[in-house]
Symmetry: C2
């Protein structure tokens, strides 16, 4: 699945710009990376088709939309057989409060990124949903105070552009 595509300096620049502003016009993008619009569009399309660009997403302001509580939950299961891991993973997808989730190794088995409107909703989710889910052993929660950094998913610096 990971194709490890060989990208040149221009491709890296495109990725950096689109990670910074995914709605930039192709004309502006082509100007920034130093080629004309048609080849630039072809490169973007190729990056999308090969899956290197998985998609585009608007970043929403959660508090302004009434979602004031962001929290992380570390979940430990009793049994970690493959079927049980898959079952819990599937369950996270059915909880709207859980925005993204990771299977992890270490002291816990899952890490959930949760967003809710208020603390009461979050607490009832933890108590009535999480801890009452079969096979769930431990639930440790960390309420967020504020986000202190929000870069894109992948670091793209000048070094990538010299390949």
């Amino acid at each position: 699945m990971p194709i490890k595509a060989d990208l040149d300096a221009i491709d890296w620049k495109i990725l950096r710009e689109l990670q910074r502003d995914g709605r930039m016009t192709n004309v502006e993008l082509s100007r920034r990376v130093g080629i004309s619009a048609p080849p630039c569009l072809r490169r973007v399309k190729r990056l999308e088709e090969t899956g290197i660009i998985r998609g585009y997403r608007a970043l929403l302001n959660a508090p302004a939309l009434g979602m004031d509580v962001v929290a992380f939950c570390l979940i430990g299961l009793h049994h970690q057989a493959d079927a049980e891991l898959k079952a819990f993973a599937e369950r996270t997808r059915s909880w709207p409060i859980v925005r993204d989730a990771w299977m992890v190794s270490g002291e816990s088995d899952f890490l959930l990124h949760c967003v809710t409107s208020d603390l009461a909703t979050f607490q009832s989710f933890v108590i009535e949903e999480l801890t009452s889910t079969p096979n769930v052993d431990t639930v440790r929660t960390a309420l967020t105070i504020r986000q202190v950094k929000d870069a894109g998913l992948v670091e793209i610096n000048a070094l990538n552009q010299t390949q």
Copy 2:
């Protein structure tokens, strides 16, 4: 800062669509939300200007770009005075490995989302950077096995559209 803007059903539809595909053309967006293009564009612009839409971002495929290691670090500090919290927050911004970071309350003080090319790089980051940073008390790490859910930041369901 959180404006708690009053949004109607069409605004919520716009947010839902753009969170799903941030590069959709305005014509396509207007068709999906049921109004013509000009008022649709005005609404999007207003959502951007009021900060409800914070920006747009391309979602990159980290493994395909050679970033095979995703991990989370829970950091506990010795002292949690305001100046020290700010100092550590500032430091997270200088580490390229840290892609986003949260100040949290609970057993730890910070949660770091880290992405690196390989395990050795991550380990040397933890040992040589994190644990040797002044005021850092505890560092707990959770290596991710795989992401099991990746929805947008905010849940937008049909209920929002009946306001």
